[in-house]
């Protein structure tokens, strides 16, 4: 059961038997479930799952329905990481004691949380789990906003985005703080594996998830999850927006091994101007007024600087 699932191409991948079900209550066009499916389908091993309070959780386990075909737990907003760490610890204990009901399995422990649950309220819990190096994977469904509660800013919300608690107005361009560098912080825990992924680049993503599953110890995954409702785009355009995110390098795809080795895993052939990414979303609409256009320029400069930084880290191997 423990060998890595062979997925040479999308046709291979499509033979997966999903362990996540439809008729969940996520919005039409929500990227969360696309990400969840790519994670779950990357392995045939048994799964034990957790989710923090948030869109994914409230839309997939509303009594009397569950959309999960593997054991799943939700406790609170901040602690899916620790919930799955607790389950993983119990697995270790029962393995030692010879009390597992199906001792020949090699289960994978995965916790999901939104950026609010991860960058903000659950930050400490995740840090604890990473530091203790539990054999688990934590996946952030990063839609850069508290979408479940109607679009409040989180520390993942980027500058210039209009959120309900940092709205654009006659004297405001919206969110004032830059997005927290969660990948950098998690990598600084020197965990065996951290990666930023995007569901449009499914092959890159599945490869990273599989590497994560094959890793013994804590794995952190930050997945960009465009939110049709709060980013304000048509539900049909979810993958187009994701393409703009990765191809503008607003969401660079890379991995960090043991906190030191940086690998950029996707280099767009044609890098798209950040302006195109911003223009495709209603949350940045106000930036195109004359008085805020300087912010678009700053956006581009920030993205360029981060990309240069990542490349230097990759080259330096430190």
């Amino acid at each position: 059961m423990s060998e890595i699932k062979q997925i040479k191409n999308l046709k291979d991948f499509s033979t997966s038997a999903d362990r996540f079900e439809g008729a969940n209550l996520l919005c039409p066009g929500c990227a969360h479930s696309i990400i969840v499916r790519e994670v779950l389908n990357a392995t045939n091993n048994d799964l034990v799952l957790a989710a923090s309070t948030g869109c994914l959780e409230v839309c997939t386990a509303v009594y009397p329905y569950t959309s999960w075909d593997a054991s799943w737990i939700h406790i609170g907003f901040e602690n899916s990481s620790t919930a799955i760490a607790g389950a993983e610890t119990m697995y270790k204990a029962l393995k030692t004691k010879g009390r597992l009901k199906q001792p020949d399995r090699n289960p994978k422990f995965v916790a999901f949380g939104g950026d609010g649950a991860s960058y903000d309220i659950g930050f400490q819990w995740i840090s604890g789990c990473m530091e203790r190096n539990h054999d688990m994977m934590y996946v952030v469904l990063d839609n850069e906003v508290y979408a479940n509660t109607g679009g409040q800013r989180s520390s993942s919300t980027p500058i210039g985005s209009s959120a309900t608690t940092s709205p654009a107005g006659s004297i405001s361009y919206g969110e004032k703080q830059n997005k927290k560098d969660m990948m950098g912080i998690m990598a600084a825990h020197h965990i065996p594996y951290a990666a930023q992924v995007a569901p449009n680049k499914w092959k890159d993503m599945v490869k990273k998830i599989q590497r994560g599953f094959a890793t013994e110890g804590a794995v952190f995954i930050n997945a960009v999850s465009p939110c049709t409702t709060e980013w304000k785009f048509d539900p049909k355009d979810t993958m187009m927006i994701t393409d703009l995110a990765t191809d503008s390098l607003v969401f660079p795809l890379y991995e960090v091994i043991d906190g030191r080795e940086f690998n950029i895993t996707y280099r767009p052939k044609n890098v798209v101007p950040v302006e195109e990414y911003l223009a495709a979303q209603g949350r940045f609409k106000h930036l195109f007024k004359d008085e805020y256009k300087y912010l678009i320029k700053e956006w581009q400069e920030r993205v360029d600087a981060q990309w240069a930084y990542l490349q230097r880290r990759e080259e330096a191997k430190v």
């Binding site: 406790i75 607790g86 119990m90 204990a93 400490q124």
Partner: protein, 407 residues
């Protein structure tokens, strides 16, 4: 690697913390996830030392907060095994969110709460503020008055909590420092006898059964939430008490030590009674005996099972009294004492009329002295003699400054 058993003397000199740590070791807990806080820290330190010396086979995880400790316990309990931890005071307060999650998800966990005051102002000593904070959390709460009882109640707690008819987490309380750090003789069970009493963990709705996946921690709104809460309350009210009695009886059979939901001392013919919890019970018993020598028919009632509240047994214990003092060791902050109110409710609604007065005492570890209790029994006797309560209903004892009394 096989773990080692420990050879214990029949009587060991243990403080309450060590007694609790020993009970956790003997119960062969599968996962302890914990975070240190005074005065409960020695429980997890003791357990860590057992682990370091190969007396524990289970896993021990030191997490980064009490909230994470209980979160880890919940994940571990849902996975399907024996789980325990310990905390106090501010740590308990930080845990509160997850306490409701553990009980609502019907997961067995044993939580040692070494009682301590709640800030502000900050204080590390024993009172019952944290115990009171837990009283609506849906847990079973039992109170130990001594290291012996901390040991015994821990062993019994697993058996109650993990029973498939119960599946509710249990708090074992003991007084910070007065019990947790005071060494006394503790009658022990051998490792085998203790483990046999606790029994093998029997999984239920366990996440690690890969052939029967389960979903834990769902959302229920107005169309389902009430039914689930009602069920939990029903099981606390109707299923937990007989199970607690059954386990108390089995423990008595094994050890000769008898536990009751309500512990009565010299109550057969008592006219005046002090009703309290924790180490105060032992002090009150000693003073009651001395009062008897002076001709006052004094008795003491200690509450052993705090939740589910033994409404009928409390009324039964107090039915022949003429005056009762209810001692609350937690600031009521704008009301009659919580225990005063609960006992008053039990008496009023069972038609028992006794002269009931309330006392707030011992906050932040302030001693309850024998002199306090002598005065208190005398005050109760004065009430009996007058045929009415001669003071206000709520008084503070042992606090400096002008006398505080209300209601």
């Amino acid at each position: 690697m096989a773990f080692n058993k420990m050879n214990l003397k029949d009587i060991e000199v243990w403080d309450g913390n060590h007694a609790a740590a020993q009970a956790l070791r003997q119960a062969q807990v599968d996962v302890v996830a914990a975070y240190p806080i005074t005065p409960s820290t020695p429980i997890v330190e003791g357990y860590a030392k057992f682990k370091a010396n190969n007396y524990v086979e289970g896993e021990f995880v030191m997490v980064e907060s009490e909230h994470a400790a209980m979160s880890g316990c919940i994940g571990a309990a849902a996975a399907g095994g024996r789980v325990a931890t310990a905390t106090s005071s501010q740590g308990f307060a930080l845990m509160v969110e997850t306490l409701y999650q553990a009980s609502g998800m019907r997961l067995p966990v044993v939580l040692n709460v070494v009682n301590r005051a709640l800030a502000a102002p900050l204080n590390v000593n024993g009172d019952h503020s944290d115990m009171y904070l837990g009283r609506d959390s849906g847990w079973i709460q039992v109170d130990a008055y001594s290291p012996q009882e901390a040991y015994d109640l821990n062993l019994m707690a697993f058996r109650i909590s993990e029973d498939h008819d119960i599946r509710l987490p249990v708090m074992v309380h003991q007084d910070g420092f007065m019990t947790s750090h005071t060494a006394q003789g503790v009658h022990t069970l051998s490792d085998d006898a203790a483990y046999n009493f606790v029994g093998e963990y029997k999984p239920m709705n366990d996440m690690l059964d890969f052939e029967h996946p389960v979903t834990h921690g769902v959302q229920t709104e107005e169309d389902w939430h009430f039914e689930h809460k009602a069920r939990q309350h029903n099981d606390l009210m109707l299923k937990a008490p007989p199970k607690i009695e059954e386990v108390f009886t089995a423990f008595e059979k094994l050890t000769g030590r008898k536990y009751n939901q309500v512990e009565s001392y010299d109550m057969e013919d008592a006219e005046v009674c002090v009703f309290c919890m924790g180490t105060s019970v032992e002090t009150a018993r000693e003073v009651a005996s001395e009062m008897r020598e002076k001709g006052i028919k004094a008795g003491v009632v200690g509450l052993r099972v705090v939740r589910p509240f033994p409404f009928v047994q409390v009324a039964e214990a107090l039915k022949n009294t003429k005056a009762v003092a209810i001692l609350d060791r937690s600031s009521p902050n704008g009301a009659a004492g919580a225990m005063f109110n609960e006992v008053a409710g039990a008496l009023y609604n069972t038609g028992i009329r006794t002269l009931l007065s309330g006392y707030i005492y011992g906050l932040g570890g302030r001693d309850l002295t024998k002199a306090h209790l002598v005065a208190l029994f005398n005050e109760l006797q004065a009430n009996v003699n007058a045929g009415k309560i001669t003071t206000q209903l709520q008084q503070f004892i042992g606090v400096r400054g002008p006398k505080l009394s209300y209601l």
